[in-house]
């Protein structure tokens, strides 16, 4: 078993996850200290490789370890580390001083170390390479325009810039770079860092941000523009880890610290190239590195496509089934109460309507401070998303029953609860089930975003596929997700047949 995911949790912890989700509105849930060491990585290849290296080291030190790969961005990892959802990840000094702790205006590594310690976080010494930002262009275009350094860009306001989404907003990214150099360009867009190389290659964009250890720089023979005003700080790779890991698993910390000064830039660039250009799985690259550098030999078992499919299906179903079941249990009664109490109903419909307008990605990330990373925040977000169609359809199904029929039930002398059970709910059943069906399909689709916050599922191969420019991997997530959505639709058609009374399915005669 190589990767360990939330999908493989026991039913007991699945139940616990559900309870956490449901209680979170009224309770502050303290972070549960997971037994295994949990390592995170950012959404780019180098960081995923380093995450795999850390996981191998922890396991080699005799500790069970989980690697939550490709979590959305720095903020997600940092929050998770502070909360205790992660124990360690590979970070860069410049990112901490210029972005995460930018307000503190930290001058040097000692100040940084001190600031981290105050937050319960420790850092290793630099691992040996500096992965700084840079701007890059295709050499042909750069030569024809005579551009060799960043300040040369001032004379070419029409150039199209495309930057990684994080770079676009970071304190050390585009906003300050533009001010420092007085750059006039306005055609600046954000996209996934790994896609920007393809944009450059296709000519859709002229200048992109580079990570200096990216393998593509050499592969595409890109011109790296000189940072002539020294805007970018040093981004020495380090390991950040929680102080309590020292008590819980000191042998793991010792293992991690063996990496100090052992990864020169050339090695890192080479490892990145093997992943991105030679398409070798990160798990093997990390193992090869440990074997050659630290003489640590790890038996790597690679997952087959089938293993991955099973794992992602399990994780996806876990997210969908729990969130949808909880939504049904809450939303149907909420719809019933809304139909009975019109004023309350308007408030409920407005609130669930507003929830639906929050972009799904934002909602997922908003859940992290509340319930951490992994399955619970994804389930909570999916639960919230699934409410509207069910509440609305339950409400509509009940309020659309013709007045004379409601009165007929009343006139029979049935008490309100019996009217609801024997007449109104059966008559609304078709609309209610249609609402659940809509929710299920939306839920299956939205759950693919869960991978960004470490929840796994079919989004995982899609994320990896985007990162590695591997359409096969993207389809490995996209096709099963589509099939599952169709399947969910089919299951609810069957449920409709079973639960919607026959009289409502018949067509009027003549």
């Amino acid at each position: 078993m190589i990767y360990t995911y939330s999908a493989l949790r026991t039913p007991h912890s699945a139940l616990k996850g559900l309870c956490r989700c449901l209680l979170v509105c009224c309770l502050w849930v303290s972070p549960v200290i997971a037994q295994p060491v949990t390592i995170g990585s950012k959404n780019f290849t180098e960081n995923v490789i380093l995450g795999e290296v850390l996981r191998h080291l922890a396991q080699h030190a005799g500790q069970e370890a989980i690697h939550r790969q490709q979590l959305g961005g720095t903020q997600i990892l940092w929050e998770a580390l502070l909360r205790g959802d992660l124990d360690a990840y590979a970070e860069y000094t410049g990112t901490l001083t210029q972005e995460v702790l930018a307000d503190l205006k930290l001058e040097n590594n000692e100040a940084l170390e001190e600031a981290l310690k105050e937050r319960g976080i420790l850092m290793s010494r630099p691992l040996g390479f500096n992965n700084t930002y840079a701007l890059g262009m295709k050499p042909g275009l750069a030569d024809s325009l005579g551009i060799i350094k960043i300040s040369d860009l001032r004379d070419h306001p029409d150039l199209i810039f495309a930057f990684g989404n994080e770079f676009l907003d970071r304190g050390d990214g585009w906003p300050t770079l533009r001010n420092r150099y007085g750059l006039p360009q306005t055609n600046v867009s954000g996209l996934d860092h790994d896609l920007s190389y393809r944009g450059l290659e296709s000519g859709d964009t002229h200048v992109i941000d580079l990570y200096s250890t990216d393998a593509e720089i050499a592969y595409y023979k890109l011109r790296v523009l000189e940072d002539d005003l020294n805007h970018f700080p040093v981004y020495n790779a380090i390991i950040v880890y929680r102080k309590d890991l020292m008590q819980r698993a000191p042998q793991v910390v010792d293992a991690f610290l063996q990496l100090e000064g052992r990864i020169p830039e050339s090695d890192m660039v080479a490892m990145n190239a093997r992943a991105k250009i030679d398409k070798i799985p990160e798990v093997r690259i990390a193992a090869n590195f440990l074997a050659s550098t630290l003489d640590i030999h790890i038996d790597v078992q690679e997952e087959t496509r089938w293993d991955r499919l099973m794992k992602h299906t399990g994780a996806h179903l876990y997210l969908v089934i729990i969130s949808l079941s909880a939504a049904i249990l809450i939303a149907v009664p909420l719809g019933i109460v809304s139909a009975c109490l019109p004023n309350f109903g308007q408030v409920v419909l407005a609130v669930v309507g507003v929830i639906q307008t929050i972009p799904s990605l934002a909602l997922l990330v908003m859940m992290i401070p509340v319930v951490g990373i992994g399955g619970p925040p994804a389930i909570l977000a999916l639960f919230l998303y699934s409410l509207l169609p069910i509440v609305r359809n339950t409400y509509a199904g009940l309020t659309d029953i013709p007045g004379p029929l409601k009165e007929s039930a009343q006139a029979l002398g049935l008490p309100p609860a019996a009217r609801l059970r024997l007449v109104e709910l059966p008559m609304a059943s078709r609309t209610i089930i249609a609402g659940i069906k809509t929710s299920a399909v939306i839920n299956v689709g939205t759950a693919t975003l869960g991978a960004i916050i470490g929840a796994g599922g079919f989004g995982q191969p899609i994320l990896t596929g985007i990162r590695l420019a591997d359409n096969g991997l993207i389809l490995e997530g996209a096709i099963p997700a589509a099939v599952l959505a169709l399947l969910a639709q089919g299951v609810f058609e069957v449920i409709e047949r079973l639960f919607v009374p026959r009289g409502l399915r018949l067509k009027a005669q003549g």
């Binding site: 009165e407 009343q410 049935l414 059966p426 059943s429 009374p501």
Partner: protein, 247 residues
């Protein structure tokens, strides 16, 4: 048997019933008639407690009809609306027995009672397995009537029961209904807007306008001793096909 005293009901700014008092005679058929919006439908729904009046009170035998007593009293009142008011998710049989089954009647007792009712209403028993959409308008109305009679109520309230039917079916059902009322000897209150139907059924006809009773009496009283012009105009407004040939 059933009486309302000083009943008023105002919807927004429209007066549906204006201090109306009426006593329904036991074992007779009382027909409420009048132009649209005269309050006849509101009145019958107030009698069975579906609508609360703004003022006044309703008595059923010796009990006041209130939200608290209505549930029990309804077991002694049968209510039929236009097109039967059948629940589309239940077949004919389940519609008829819904309330009795809820009250815990055994299945064989239900079957015996339903059999009696099919004979009374002249409804083919095998048609009860059909759903409302599979029945004709007249059949739906007969099933609706069976449902109203299931608990053998003391009073039968019918709100335009034959309004949606075509003329031949309507005439057949009128004959059958009158037979049933006579056979059972029940107290019946019926709402209609059709003067011919009112005359056909009504031992007592209550002509209403703007939430008030204009005249109350037999058809003979209304025709031969109208209290005002409105009564004359209302009766004369009902033109039969033969009237045209007379001119």
């Amino acid at each position: 048997m059933l009486s309302v005293h000083n009943i008023s009901k105002i919807y927004d700014d429209r007066t549906a019933l204006d201090a109306l008092t009426l006593t329904v005679q036991a074992a007779r058929t009382t027909v409420l008639i009048g132009p649209s919006g005269c309050g006849k439908s509101t009145l019958i729904r107030i009698m069975i407690g579906l609508i609360l009046p703004d003022t006044g009170h309703i008595r059923f035998e010796n009990t006041e009809v209130t939200p608290e007593t209505a549930l029990q009293l309804r077991h002694r009142m049968g209510y039929v609306i236009q097109d039967g008011g059948l629940f589309p998710h239940l077949n004919g049989y389940d519609n008829v027995v819904l309330m009795a089954r809820y009250l815990g009647w055994a299945e064989d007792r239900l079957a015996v009672r339903v059999h009696e009712l099919t004979e009374l209403t002249r409804f083919p028993e095998d048609g009860l397995g059909r759903y409302p959409v599979q029945l004709s308008g007249g059949q739906r109305q007969r099933v609706g009537l069976m449902r109203a009679l299931m608990l053998d109520p003391d009073v039968l309230l019918l709100d335009e029961p034959l309004g949606a039917l075509d003329p031949i079916i309507q005439a057949d059902l009128q004959d059958d209904l009158r037979d049933i009322f006579r056979t059972l000897g029940k107290t019946v209150v019926m709402v209609t807007h059709d003067m011919g139907e009112a005359g056909f059924f009504g031992d007592e006809i209550v002509l209403m306008q703007d939430g008030k009773i204009i005249q109350q009496g037999t058809l003979h009283d209304l025709v031969h001793d109208p209290v005002d012009d409105f009564v004359i105009r209302f009766i004369n407004a009902h033109r039969g096909p033969l009237d045209v040939l007379k001119d």
